[in-house]
Every structure is written in C-alpha cells, then in structure tokens.
C-alpha cells in the first residue's frame, strides 16, 4: 500500500477538499451498501410458489372434479393423472404410460385409464390390464385440503 503523502497545512481549500472526499466516500459506500442490501432484501421475500413442486403439488379444486372424471396436472417435470372414480373416490397416478411414455387419459365410457398411443388399458388401481403396457402406473397419494386437491409421492 502506498505511504501517505505529507499533507498540506490546513487552509480552507484542503479542508474543503477533505470534506468533498469524505462526501464522495460516503456516497460511494452508500452505493456499495445498496448493491448488497438490495439482493438480500429481495431474497428474504419468499417467491410466489413457495415450495419446489417435486414431492407434492396442488391439482385444482376438488368440487369441480365430478365422479367418472379425471384431470392431468404437471407434477415436477412429468404429468400426473387425478381420477374421481364413479363411486366418488379420489385417486392419483403417474401420467406417463409404462409402455412408451405417452401421456395417458381417462375414458369415462370404459371407466378406466387408457393410453391412446397403442391401446393400453389400466384399471382404477393403476394395474395394466390390457394392451402393451408392461407395468402398472405408480400410485400417488391424493388428499383434499379445503377445496384443493393435493397429490404427493413418497420420496
């Protein structure tokens, strides 16, 4: 670090210079402090989606899911299918067919889950009952909080 220069005697200009310097220093340090404080304060405010959607997601209103009906929702990076059985029970499964990974759908006429790609059929327990699929669909837990359906998978 360079050593200090001998200072001038303290007439007005030097004092003024020093005051300007201190003011500059104060302003810049306020700027530096601001550039630290701004990210920290923004960080402290939680984001709109408070939780990573990989262990559980909301799946819409329970009241709008009628019996013998289903809906597809994203769960992490893959789809999930939430089914209201004809008897009114709520079930949820992974939404990708175990044959070649197409997204499955619900068939109200057949009252079970169907894959359009190669005519694969799954019953309402997720079991593969006809067509090419080699394995059942993984089941998720489906619960209702208030009027919101929440589906979750065990880690």
């Amino acid at each position: 670090m360079p050593s200090a220069q001998p200072s001038a005697p303290t007439p007005a200009p030097a004092v003024g210079r020093r005051r300007v310097l201190n003011w500059l220093l104060g302003t810049w340090s306020a700027g530096v402090f601001g550039s630290i404080a701004f990210p920290v304060l923004r960080y402290l405010v939680p984001p709109v989606i408070p939780e990573a959607p990989t262990l559980s997601v909301t799946a819409g209103a329970a009241s709008t899911l009628a019996p013998n009906n289903a809906r597809i929702v994203p769960f992490g990076s893959t789809p999930a299918i939430v089914v209201r059985t004809p008897t009114g029970e709520l079930r949820a499964f992974e939404g990708t067919c175990t044959h070649l990974a197409c997204t499955v759908q619900y068939r109200p006429d057949l009252e079970h889950i169907w894959c359009a790609c190669h005519n694969g059929h799954y019953d309402l327990n997720g079991k593969n009952i006809a067509g090419p699929p080699p394995r059942p669909l993984t089941a998720y837990d489906a619960n209702v909080q208030g009027d919101e359906i929440v589906i979750s998978r065990r880690a």
């Binding site: 990076s77 789809p79 005519n119």
Partner: protein, 411 residues
C-alpha cells in the same frame, strides 16, 4: 466449479431431450435387420436317443405321457414308428381339441387350435395330402415341447418370426405357392422387429399377431386395417371417419398398407407428406388433386413445429451450459413432443381442422419452451449487467478510498 464442467450436464440434458423426442416420435429406424435369437432347429428325424433326451423337458412328460401316447406300441423291430405328417395334427387334436381332457391338465388353455388350423392355408393343403406345408410339430417341435411363455419355445414371441422364416425365406419352398420369400427380411427391417428384438417389447407384433397362430392366413386386403387397429386404435378411427376411407374402398386399395406397407413398416417421417418427388402422398396426389392444400398445410405444420422445437432446444441447452436451470422449459418441451405425437396420429384424419388445433398447441408449447430459454439468457444478461453496476459502484468506492488513503497524514 469450473464453467466448463457445466458442458457435461448440459450435454446430458440435451441427450435425454433428444432421446425422449426420438422415443415419442417413434423415429426409430433399425440400422440393420434384426436377427432373432438362434433357436436350435429339430433334426429332420430324431434318433430314439435324441428324442428321449429332448423329451425330458417336455410338458407332456411332466403331465405323465410317454412315447406310446403318440407313437403307439413299439414295432416288431423294437422301435417306435414315426407319425405320418398328415396324421400329426389330427393326433394332437385327440387331446388338444377335447375340453374334457385338457381340463384335467390346464383348464384355461384353448381347445380350438385344430379347428383354426383346418381353416388355414397350411391346414387345407395338409388335408389334401400336401405334406410340404407346416403342421403342429414344425412350429412346436416334437419332443422338447415347452409352453409358449417359456423363452426356449420356438413360438415364444421373440422366436416366432424365426420359426416361420425356416420355410418362408426359402424361395424354392415358396414359389409353388406363389409366396414371396422376402417377408421375413422385410419384417426384420421394421420398427416392430426393432421393438420386439432390440427393446424386448413382447407386445410388439410378430407374424402370428397379424396372421393368427393356428389359423394362419394373410388378413386380406380389405381386412388388414382391422388388424392394425388392434393397437393403432386412434389412427384406425380417424381413417375410417375420413374422406380417404371411401376413396380407398372404391379403388380397392388397402387402408394401412398403401402408405405403410405390411411387413416393411418403418418409422413414418414428415418427408412422406409432400406433392413432390418420392413422397408417399405424391404417388397419387399432385397440385391438381383435391387434398393438395391439406397436404401442403400439414407438411408445413410439421416443418414449423420441428423448426421451433429445434430453436427452443438450442436456446435451452445454451442457457443450461451457462449455468441456468431451465426446468419449466423442459416441461414445455415435453408438452411440445406430446403434441408432435398427436399430430402424427391426426394425419390420418386427412383434414385440416383437428390437425391444426393440435398444431397450435404444439407451437404454443415450443414457443413457451423457447421463451423459458430466452428468459434464462435474459436473466443471465441481467445478472451480468447487475454485476457491472455493482462493480462500477465498488470501483468508484475503491478509487475514492484510494485517494483518501493517500491523503491521510503520515503515521
């Protein structure tokens, strides 16, 4: 910790994306004819020793049957007489067509195999005394018969085609019946053979899936569509409801075969959809025919979607390599790929409305994916600009501090 180290995860993501698109688009061109695993062929005539050795594994042996059950008593020479070829099927049928017998061993097994066989080309020829055609033992073998689901069986799903090929690739055998000997090699180059033999997907169609096992007969030009429809339900539904169904019926043309072939079924490609050159549509259509506009529009739809998906992928992978995480982009890409699959199915409607709807969805998903990538790159720029601002402030502070230090009185 090095930026370069992000290239590997980025490439991995790209690889996974590419692989999943390939799977979805069924764009699996087999690179070489799939060879079925070797099934040892039975010797033309087994010696008694060979037969006895093979019989140890036989299901009939486990059921308590012996040599006499099929061969009858030993001859005066001390050996068993071979069963005449024309007599084999009726002999097997004495048990296998009798419910009261089969019930004792395997109540769920079917008993109509002989009845089916008699309707088949093999059965009808054999009934006329022509021994050149197949009978029970040609496919099931004679002494080491195991259940179909046993992987050693010559009629296990993976082996059926090879068993049929034993005769059906022999030009000398096939020419008297006017049958092509190329069928097996055609099928071997198909996506179905690839699925069955390379991926081990036992649901993939082999010879008996479309032709029947015992009532083996080609489906017939007007019936082949029903066979394909067993798995390709949506395509069949759409086709039947489309204008083409009536046109093809009038022309006497087979529904699926005309474009997709029956044995050499390869992964369809959007280059088929064009009015020029070698394109499949161009075999019948040109600019003047009705449907020309639809063809052009559908092709353009595919090209557009492919272009936009490629662009999106490019941006996403650049963003990922730069250290940004783009989960939402991958999700949207997943949706775009789904839409692409559905578009391929909707080609069979041969009309714009249903196809265009899904095209819109696909383009929207591709655009969303692209937007996520663009946002990530923008965010990267925003971060660097923010850094530049912060650095400027810090530099200003440092410069002022430096001056301050220099003008401090001596220590």
């Amino acid at each position: 910790m090095k930026r370069g180290a992000l290239i590997v995860p980025g490439l991995l993501v790209l690889g996974v994306l590419a692989a999943s698109i390939a799977v979805r688009a069924h764009a699996r061109q087999p690179d070489s004819p799939a060879q079925p695993p070797a099934v040892p062929a039975p010797p033309a005539r087994s010696t008694p020793d060979q037969a006895a050795a093979a019989f140890k594994d036989d299901v009939h042996a486990k059921a308590g049957l012996g040599c006499e059950s099929c061969h009858g008593q030993k001859t005066s020479g001390g050996s068993y007489a071979p069963v005449a070829r024309t007599a084999i099927a009726p002999m097997c049928a004495t048990c296998h067509a009798d419910a009261s017998v089969m019930r004792k061993f395997a109540p769920q097994v079917r008993i109509d195999q002989y009845a089916q066989y008699q309707t088949s080309v093999h059965g009808r020829q054999m009934a006329k005394g022509d021994t050149r055609v197949a009978t029970c033992s040609d496919c099931h073998h004679s002494h080491g018969i195991v259940q179909v689901r046993d992987t050693r069986s010559p009629v296990a799903p993976a082996h059926v085609a090879g068993t049929c090929a034993a005769c059906h690739t022999d030009a000398a055998r096939m020419s008297p019946f006017n049958r092509s000997p190329d069928v097996f090699s055609d099928w071997s180059k198909s996506v179905h053979a690839d699925a069955l033999l390379k991926r081990g997907d036992r649901s993939a169609p082999t010879c008996n899936t479309c032709h029947g096992s015992h009532g083996a007969t080609p489906p017939g030009i007007d019936a082949v569509a029903n066979v394909c429809a067993q798995c390709h339900v949506r395509e069949a539904e759409l086709f039947k409801a489309s204008k083409k169904a009536a046109v093809f019926a009038e022309m006497g043309q087979s529904d699926c075969l005309t474009c997709h072939s029956n044995h050499h079924i390869v992964a369809p490609d959007q280059t088929w959809i064009s009015l020029e050159g070698e394109a499949i549509c161009a075999t019948c259509h040109d600019e003047t025919t009705p449907g020309a506009l639809v063809i052009r529009s559908v092709r353009k739809g595919f090209d557009d979607l492919q272009q936009r998906m490629r662009d999106a992928e490019g941006v996403l992978s650049r963003a990922e390599t730069a250290g940004m995480l783009i989960e939402d982009g991958k999700l949207a890409m997943h949706d775009a790929t789904e839409a692409h699959v559905r578009m391929r199915v909707l080609v069979h409607a041969f009309a714009s409305p249903p196809f265009d709807e899904v095209l819109e969805e696909g383009l929207a998903a591709a655009d969303k994916s692209r937007a996520v990538g663009d946002d990530a790159m923008d965010e990267l720029q925003y971060r660097r600009r923010g850094l530049a601002v912060a650095t400027l402030l810090i530099l200003g502070f440092l410069a002022t501090l430096f001056v301050k230090i220099r003008q401090l009185p001596p220590s």
